[in-house]
């Protein structure tokens, strides 16, 4: 029961802040709503007993990526609101209709697809994955997924070099 209430509250927060992110005119406000959205997703991870991922979500998304966005919004001086100029061939209702139709399709698949029953939450909260979360994730990362882990570090290095080169005025 408590799990259900927590889930519905967090789900409402996630979806509400997501709608605000895409609908707010002011870009700075959109970035701040994005922080709140990420924090609500981190709360959902705690509900799913993924504590390590919740901490990563707060540190990397709410702490790192959002600050990057704020810097770009600050550097890009929006004297002329970007929504002023609009191409004549754009029809907003097409985007609404497309996303509504695809959401209906996904919901139909999920509701009638017969996915598994719920895990017993009292068992799941006391399982090894919940109690030794960091240990289990670290073990997987450094044994079975060692090569993807190293490739991810290479990817981050390449992205860092690429971002510096792109942002430099002249090489």
């Amino acid at each position: 029961m408590g799990e259900a209430i927590a889930f519905y509250v967090i789900a409402a927060l996630i979806l509400g802040f997501a709608v605000l992110v895409v609908s707010t005119k002011n870009t700075v406000h959109a970035v701040l709503f994005l922080v709140l959205n990420f924090l609500a997703v981190a709360a959902l991870y705690v509900l799913l007993t993924a504590q390590f991922l919740a901490v990563i979500q707060v540190l990397v998304y709410a702490g790192g990526i959002v600050v990057l966005y704020l810097f770009v919004v600050m550097l890009v001086n929006l004297k002329r609101p970007p929504e002023d100029h609009s191409a004549p061939q754009r029809h907003p209702w097409v985007g609404f209709a497309l996303s509504g139709v695809v959401l209906a399709q996904l919901a139909a698949i999920l509701l009638f697809g017969g996915f598994g029953a719920a895990t017993d939450s009292s068992v799941a909260q006391n399982s090894d994955l919940a109690l030794n979360n960091v240990e289990r994730i670290g073990m997987l990362l450094y044994t079975d997924y060692l090569i993807p882990f190293e490739v991810a570090s290479m990817l981050l290095l390449v992205a860092m070099v690429g971002a510096i080169i792109l942002a430099k005025r002249e090489l």
């Binding site: 789900a11 996904l106 999920l110 895990t119 073990m139 990817l155 860092m160 971002a163």
Partner: protein
């Protein structure tokens, strides 16, 4: 009782809000934030199934998704800055340099 279907419906809704943001908005910074919403929707699915199956691999993949999202944000925002320096705009309708 919260089943995996609930989490997948939440994830699908968040995903489609992100897609609607990409389709409807013209400010490229907002479009990038919508892409972050889409990646978060994927992560919710992965973690929900990790919980359902009591298997840590879903959370490991969510960590990889976060790493890729960080790389994407850094490079994408670099491209936005480089473009803004040349064209003084963040409107995607005016970003048509490479359109035939």
């Amino acid at each position: 009782m919260i089943t995996p279907t609930h989490y997948m419906l939440l994830s699908a809704a968040l995903f489609m809000i992100g897609v609607a943001g990409v389709l409807l908005r013209r400010n490229i910074i907002v479009i990038f934030m919508s892409i972050e919403l889409i990646l978060n929707a994927v992560n919710i699915n992965l973690v929900a199934f990790s919980y359902q199956l009591q298997n840590g691999i879903g959370q490991v993949f969510a960590i990889f998704v976060i790493a890729v999202a960080a790389a994407e944000a850094a490079v994408g925002l670099g491209i936005i800055l480089a473009f803004y320096r040349n064209k003084e705009t963040v409107n995607i309708d005016e970003m048509n340099l490479m359109r035939w």
